[in-house]
Symmetry: C2
Subunit: 325 residues, 2 copies
Amino acid sequence: MNIDMIDAAAGRLNGVALRTPLLSSPFLDEIAGRRVFVKAECLQHTGSFKFRGGWSAVSAMDMAARARGVIAYSSGNHAQGVALAARRHAAPCVILMPSDAPRVKIDNTRALGAEVVLYDRATGDRDAIGAALAEDRGLTLIKPFDEPHVIAGQGTTGLEIAEQAAAEGVHEADVLVCCGGGGLTSGIALALEAKAPGLRARPVEPEGFDDVKRSLASGGIERNNRTSGSLCDAIITPSPGQITFPIMARLCGSGLAVTEDEALAAMAAAFARLHVVLEPGGAVALAAALYHPGEIEGDAVIAVASGGNVDAAVFRTALERFGGA
Amino acid sequence: MNIDMIDAAAGRLNGVALRTPLLSSPFLDEIAGRRVFVKAECLQHTGSFKFRGGWSAVSAMDMAARARGVIAYSSGNHAQGVALAARRHAAPCVILMPSDAPRVKIDNTRALGAEVVLYDRATGDRDAIGAALAEDRGLTLIKPFDEPHVIAGQGTTGLEIAEQAAAEGVHEADVLVCCGGGGLTSGIALALEAKAPGLRARPVEPEGFDDVKRSLASGGIERNNRTSGSLCDAIITPSPGQITFPIMARLCGSGLAVTEDEALAAMAAAFARLHVVLEPGGAVALAAALYHPGEIEGDAVIAVASGGNVDAAVFRTALERFGGA
C-alpha cells in the first residue's frame, strides 16, 4: 500500500469521479476562529467518497472476474459506490446490507441495479454470509475499507486536497476526516505524506464509537462496545482494519470525538453557510472543526465532508434544532 | 456588451470565484427522461452566482471611485455578492434592501460588512432612493442586472458550462437559467454563443411572474402585475432590462414557467439526489428540467441552480411536502 497505488487509482478515476470543490465561508471561519475549508465529498457520485474506492476496485479487476461479478457489504454508502461502479462496468453486483440500514440507502442501492441481500446486524455474521455468497456465485468480495484498491481510491481525495489547499495558500493544517474503518483516513494520510507533508490527517468519530481514536492512543487495535444505535451509522465499524490501522498509526495525528448534537449542528451550519447536504456521519469532521477548536492546531483547518445520504426526517430534525427560524 | 468583456471578467475572477461543479444523478435522469446536468452556483461564494457579477463590477472600478465606495439594491443575493466583493477590495458598501427580504439575507449582508438601508417595497422607489444615496456619498451604484460589468461577471458561468458540457460529451442542449432581470441569462447566452453554439440559453421563471417569457413571446418588454408574494423572491423583478432584453431576444430560446410546488419539489430532489441546498428561486430551472420535459428538446439538459440562500423553515416545508420520510 503506497502512493503509487493512489496515483494509479487517480488515473483510473480521471474523468469519472467528480473533482469535488473545497468550500469555505467567512461565517464558518468566525465560528471556528480560524480559516475552515470543507472538501465536499457529499457531492461525489452516489453522495459519498465511497464511489472512488468502488470504482478503483472494480476497474482494477481482470475482465473474467468482473464478468462473474462483485459483492460488497455495507451500511449503505459503500454499497451505492460499488453498485454504480459495477453497473458502469456492466458487472453483476450483490450487496449485503444490515436490515436496519436507512431505507433511502437500501432503495438507492437497488435502483442502481444491485441485488440487495439483507441480514440482521445483531445476530448475523456479515463476513461469513458474504464469504459464502461470494464462493457460491464466483463473486469477488470488495471490502469496505481493509482492501488496498479501495484505500487507493479513497486516497485520491487526498491528492485533490493537497492541490486545492496549496491553491488557497494553505501548506500546514490538520485535515479532519470522518472515520469508520479507516479506508478514507489512511488513503488521505498516504496521499498527504507524499504530496503535502505539512498537512496531517486526523480521524474524527462519534463519541461512544471512537475505536480509532482509542487505538491510536493505545497503539493497538481497540474495539467498540456496540456498533448500532448511532445517528452516524455510516461511520460505525467494530474496529480499525488490519491494513488501515498501521498506516494511521504511522501517519495520523490524534483522533477527535464529537457528540451527535455537534454533528447535527454542523449539518445545519453546512446547510446555511455552504449549501450542501451532509449526513450525520459525514458531518463529524466539520463538527470537530467548528466546535472543538482547542483540539486543533494552526490558523487553517480542512474538514472532509464525507457523505450526504440522509433521510429527510433526520435532516429536518437538524434544521429544527439548530437551523434557526 | 460582448464576449471580450466576459473573457476579461473571467480573468479578474480567476482564483477568486469558485469553479462550481456540474452535478448529475441517474435518479434525476430517470425523472426527466434525459440526462440532466446541474450547474451548482448555490455553492458559489455567498451562496449564489451574484458574487461573480459583484466581483466583476467592483474589480473593474478605478481606485479613487472604489475608495469612495459602492451601493447596491437587491432582494438579497446581489447584496451579499457585492458586499463580499467590496469587503475583499476594502471598499465601503451600502446595500438598499426591501424590508420584507428574508431575515437570513439581511443578517448575512450585514455580517459581510455592509451598511444595510431598508425601504418599503410597496411604497418606496428603489431607484430614486438609491440614486440619492449614491449622490450624497459619492458612491458608485452597482445595478443588479442591467449593467455591462455585472452581466460579464454572470456570463463567466456560461464559459464554465461550455467547457464542462464538452467534457461530458454534450454539444447540443437547452441550458435552463433561473431568470429575474436577465443578467445571468443574457451573460450565459453571450458566452454560449461564442464558446458552445450548440447550447441554447432559455429563461425559467415562476408562474405569475413570467415577464421575460412574455417579453420574448411578444418581442417587446412586458411587465409583471406584481413583484411580491412569491416564494421565489430572489428572481422577481418588474421587467427585463434595457440591456439584457435585446441580448435575450437575439439569443435565447423561449421561456418556461413553473409553479411554486414544482420549485419546492425540485429543492427536495436536489437535496436527495445531488446533496445541494437550493432556494426556491434557484430551483426553478431544475424544476423545469424535471417536470416540464415536453417543453425541452434534446437528449440532455443543463439547469443552472442559481442560489441556495433559503430560510430553514422554507426548506423544511419543501422536505415535509416532497422529501419522502
